[in-house]
């Protein structure tokens, strides 16, 4: 379990990234921190592995204050996946994945065989092992990033907008892949995104942040969708103008399509076209 106890982050120039944030992130579940840029979500994520130290307050992992731990050792036991994958461009895919185990002193042979297993887990062709990151597509790089984050079998996986830089189709693939991997491994995942749909899909718990790390609402996706706490949350969810209220409408082909409050076709009514049940958009 990860606990934030009244953490704040002030910068010397007077910027307040996080004013006062507290939360409990239960073990073996995915907590999504979601909000617009400047809400402090990345700052909060980076407090867990001491990439950022809070100005005040504490971050606890299983009851232990991270501030008392050596940052380098702490980071080696916490998986980290970032936007643009952050792969080391001068090391082959397999060496990138094997990085943390090798920093931890695992032999090269063992680390490589583990890396190959992980490539399989995240759906990467083992033939890519000897390539350099620049020789992979964006989606493949992101998969390598996830495999690398899992390499030392950490209890905690920090994911900072990991799918933000890939195109929507690939992103959907990666999201499904993450759900599958998580159902197998049951890590404690902290996931940062500005995409509310991604949050609703992946989060067991969702924390919607306003500016300065202020919690606008927290809860499961269903709770947030059905009882948004205030106008800000409604707007963020896109339900303020009926954005998520779907109305059936007949199309020229005779099928019934569902249209949202913006007049945007959101999907097809399941059953209206027999056998076409997969046409709904997230």
């Amino acid at each position: 379990m990860i606990e934030f106890e009244n953490v704040a982050k002030h910068y010397p120039d007077g910027t307040v990234a996080v004013a006062d944030f507290s939360a409990r992130l239960p073990a073996h579940t995915t907590t999504v921190l979601v909000g617009s840029s400047g809400c402090g979500k990345t700052t909060l994520l980076r407090m867990v592995n001491r990439m950022v130290d809070p100005t005040s307050g504490r971050v606890l992992i299983d009851g232990e204050d991270v501030a008392t731990q050596d940052p380098v050792k702490l980071r080696r036991r916490i998986g980290y996946v970032m936007q643009h994958a952050g792969l080391l461009p001068h090391r082959k895919v397999i060496d990138n994945i094997a990085t943390v185990p090798m920093l931890n002193g695992v032999s090269r042979a063992d680390a490589h065989s583990r890396a190959l297993d992980l490539m399989d887990l995240v759906g990467l062709d083992p033939k890519l092992a000897k390539r350099y990151p620049s020789q992979l597509s964006g989606g493949q790089q992101q998969r390598v990033g996830v495999a690398r984050g899992l390499a030392s079998d950490p209890n905690i996986l920090l994911m900072d907008e990991p799918f933000g830089a890939v195109d929507p189709l690939v992103r959907r693939d990666l999201q499904q892949e993450l759900l599958r991997v998580q159902s197998e491994l049951g890590k404690t995942i902290v996931f940062v995104t500005h995409d509310i749909d991604e949050a609703l899909l992946l989060g067991d718990q969702i924390i919607i942040l306003a500016q300065g790390g202020e919690v606008a609402q927290r809860g499961t996706g269903t709770e947030i969708l059905t009882t948004p706490a205030d106008a800000f949350v409604s707007q963020f969810l896109g339900i303020d103008h009926g954005g998520r209220a779907l109305h059936p409408q007949s199309s020229s082909t005779g099928a019934t399509i569902l249209v949202d409050g913006y007049g945007r076709a959101a999907g097809i009514l399941s059953g209206a076209l027999p056998g076409h049940t997969t046409g709904t958009q997230p």
Binding site: V72, G86, L87, P89, H90, T99, L103, Q135, G138
Partner: protein, 219 residues
């Protein structure tokens, strides 16, 4: 041409002497430039003195430097060590800014990612920062190498053996072939060393020589 054939042994020994001065000077300037460039990049207040200082080194005319150095460090006037030290200083003038630039322009996202993985500062410098600075450093080393090979010849004016002795000796004795041989060999040596550095770069920096992503690579 006849002179060249008759004096192959002289040419070989001059070439050898030339390399014996140039190679240590190149190696020393690169080895010393890495910590100095790191300091210039790491500590802002050191940046200006180090970069301006090393730049000024290059403004010192070479001949006076060759003459004054023995007085400062107590070596003989014809000691090749003078030339090695002087050329190391010139090499530093070129390499220190090159190292500082190379380190400053590294992709901060990659370095951030290395920190997040749990690289300690020393390990990160030697296994991430330095290799990634490699291509820029190599470009700097190539300039230093060509410049050093060429500057070694100035030592001939003081009688320090190198390919430069072929110019001075040939000029004094009116042997055009000797002067031409000296120039050609100096240029060839510079080209050869440059090619060699490029090859070393391919071996040491393999990721910079990969065909980029294959067309149509899917996710």
């Amino acid at each position: 041409m006849r002179w060249v054939v008759d004096n192959v042994d002289v040419l070989a020994s001059r070439t050898f002497a030339h390399l014996a001065i140039a190679l240590p000077a190149i190696a020393l300037s690169v080895l010393l430039a890495v910590p100095l460039g790191w300091l210039a990049e790491r500590f802002r207040w050191l940046r200006s003195p180090l970069l301006t200082g090393s730049g000024l080194l290059y403004a010192i005319p070479s001949l006076p430097l060759f003459v004054v150095l023995p007085l400062v460090i107590g070596t003989g006037v014809r000691d090749p060590l003078n030339i090695v030290i002087a050329l190391t200083l010139y090499g530093l003038a070129l390499m220190v800014p090159s190292v500082a630039d190379a380190l400053r322009t590294l992709d901060s996202r990659v370095l951030d990612s290395a920190n997040a993985l749990g690289y300690g500062p020393v390990r990160r410098f030697f296994t991430v920062d330095l290799p990634l600075a490699g291509p820029t450093l190599l470009a700097g080393v190539r300039v230093v190498s060509v410049s050093t090979i060429s500057l070694v010849t100035v030592g001939a004016v003081l009688g320090v053996p190198s390919l430069g002795l072929l110019f001075t000796d040939g000029f004094q004795r009116g042997i055009i072939a000797e002067v031409v041989a000296g120039i050609v060999l100096t240029v060839l040596l510079a080209l050869l060393l440059d090619r060699l550095l490029v090859l070393v770069g391919r071996v040491v920096l393999p990721w910079t020589h990969q065909p980029s992503r294959p067309a149509g690579a899917a996710a």
